[in-house]
Symmetry: C2
Subunit: 401 residues, 2 copies
Amino acid sequence: MMKVAIIGYGVVGSGVYDILKENRGGIEKRCGESVAVKYVLDIRDFPDHPEREIFVKDFDKILSDPEVGVVVETMGGVRFAYDYTKSALSAGKTVVTSNKELVALHGHEFFRLAEENGCRYLFEASVGGGIPVIRPLARCLAANEIDSITGIINGTTNFILTKMYEEEQSFEDALLQAQRLGYAEKDPSADVDGLDVCRKIAILASMVLGKRVGCGDIPTCGIRGVTDDDMKWAESAGCAIKLLGRAVFRNGRAGVSVEPAMVHKTNPLANIGDVYNGILVEGNMVGHVMFYGRGAGKLPTASAVVADIVDAVRQPGYCGEFSWTDAGDTAFDPAELESEFFVRMCEGSIAAAEKAFAVQDKFYARHDGDIGFITEMMSKNEVNKLLSGIDGVKSVMRLFR
Amino acid sequence: MMKVAIIGYGVVGSGVYDILKENRGGIEKRCGESVAVKYVLDIRDFPDHPEREIFVKDFDKILSDPEVGVVVETMGGVRFAYDYTKSALSAGKTVVTSNKELVALHGHEFFRLAEENGCRYLFEASVGGGIPVIRPLARCLAANEIDSITGIINGTTNFILTKMYEEEQSFEDALLQAQRLGYAEKDPSADVDGLDVCRKIAILASMVLGKRVGCGDIPTCGIRGVTDDDMKWAESAGCAIKLLGRAVFRNGRAGVSVEPAMVHKTNPLANIGDVYNGILVEGNMVGHVMFYGRGAGKLPTASAVVADIVDAVRQPGYCGEFSWTDAGDTAFDPAELESEFFVRMCEGSIAAAEKAFAVQDKFYARHDGDIGFITEMMSKNEVNKLLSGIDGVKSVMRLFR
């Protein structure tokens, strides 16, 4: 029997507990042995919990118990989670986490510790909630070199953008609704300003490279600047606006960015609405594959944690393919990457725009005193250069088909 | 170094050879050892092949070579493939296949042989081409009990239905175009009549149950009966028409069907066009997740075969979670399953229809002398009973949101 300790009995931690109870039979079958929660660590008291005797407040109790093989870290934050994770791995206990901040910041240290101590550090739940993405990337697409990953990986902002697009709500109203529904925090900045997406795409990029891509190397722009006008123009160009985390891999380096972009309706990411996530992976042999589902929520996220627990029971030794090292220069500037761009500006600049851009074969429209058009494939640096002499530019967004 | 033999150097087999060359470095890294093709068996000659010396015509040469650890069966058909697979597994060699017919018919025998001989029988490429679906089902959703699988798992028919829907082509014209583009065989019946989907959904259902679901237990209807009128009505009801393989799991049994159905635009399967496949899996904890990509083609399918080779090198011993046994009564009648239905009939039957069905709150329209409406949730048996006394019924299709 495998004994597990859950540290942090919040939304995800309690979901892990529930799934290990509820689906016990199937999990035992798939593990080849039963899995039981021996301890739950939380600073709060749960006097009415049916198993209140397993709740502890002292991490050393978990650390010193040789029966505990897997520690589930669902407490979030960095400070305590860092110490506990380090101690557990140093003691040879596998750690399974949903803590994307910790994985993005310190994953490389933990993988080394896991290797040294013959255990594992697993993080499927840190990206895409319940959607299998870490394991498929590492295992199922093993025949491929990964060319790019483009993801809608934040449910809160996707909900807000969907409401703005489909119901013509303002950003402020859509955010309020997301907060009322519990999708957005009181302080929504980690979601709305793109930090959450930044951490997640950093994790995916690091795993593909096998080398750490730091969040500091990722230009990050959230959705506060997306306006009702942007939405209307996107619609008229046959696009949706999505907040994309994107990593393009070239010669052992990654160009990674977080920004709102136009996504043409023919791209499967354009149809991903509400709080759903979608991760589009481009392999050099398989072409495009996409993984879709609920990117957050108690049971979906806990489902990914429990899949990691099952994996850890079946294969307790260190597995290098789910890891990266801290290896210096791994990022290139994503502004070098080519795409089409959607440009909107005052109608008065029409002559200057026509001089700078070859727009005749692409979408081109006038509306409410503005003109909007789609450029040829070019880099962000090029589009900025072409626009540098032109007045009245209102919006420039990458466009993906 | 792992030595591989490829039997059948057609589209997929040659793709496997190409990927093992092209992505050699990454594959070696992920396997922990290099992988080389030692033999290719084919009845044809390839005198201009750069490695013509590795081509053989005698399977015994492969069988008796103790260096060969993995046999890739990409020959298709049943007769020879069955014998070769049996011999290879009996000799303790892992077999990796893309042959859905063989997996659906004889998988259970091969898993037993693999277990007895300490090797594996792997079949990721048999369903969904390059889309990871077998391994995610077995491994990544291990925390879940699977409630249902609904898939667009035949690219040819999805191409035809997309052309009929988007370009208002007739079935015949769309089929001709599919044949011209190489998506459909000269004799298209395995695709068009649903047999290919039947085999694939049988494989998925069998793996989830751990018990064989035979194709004989799966009511199978293809797309020959889908008309231009059906397409127009679907569009007006906010739906697309898709050929769905569907398995619903209840109490250790599966209700499995293959039939064209209306899929509402809010369902992610509705947006999967062209030759793409999508497999929507419903887990009791994760909710809905979908896997999307190219369901066929040389390199995508070969990509899945090579992922299995990598898996086999890393984990050569038998793994029970990718298997099923031949276990008698595993299927229930999918006609028992409830859904909405879209019903179309002559306008003259309007009074009878209104008497039989409560249609007031749902879609309800008249058009070209027909009426069309969406029923409440009910079983196919119920809808048939309600329709039994009514004349002029033109079309009855399940509708999924």
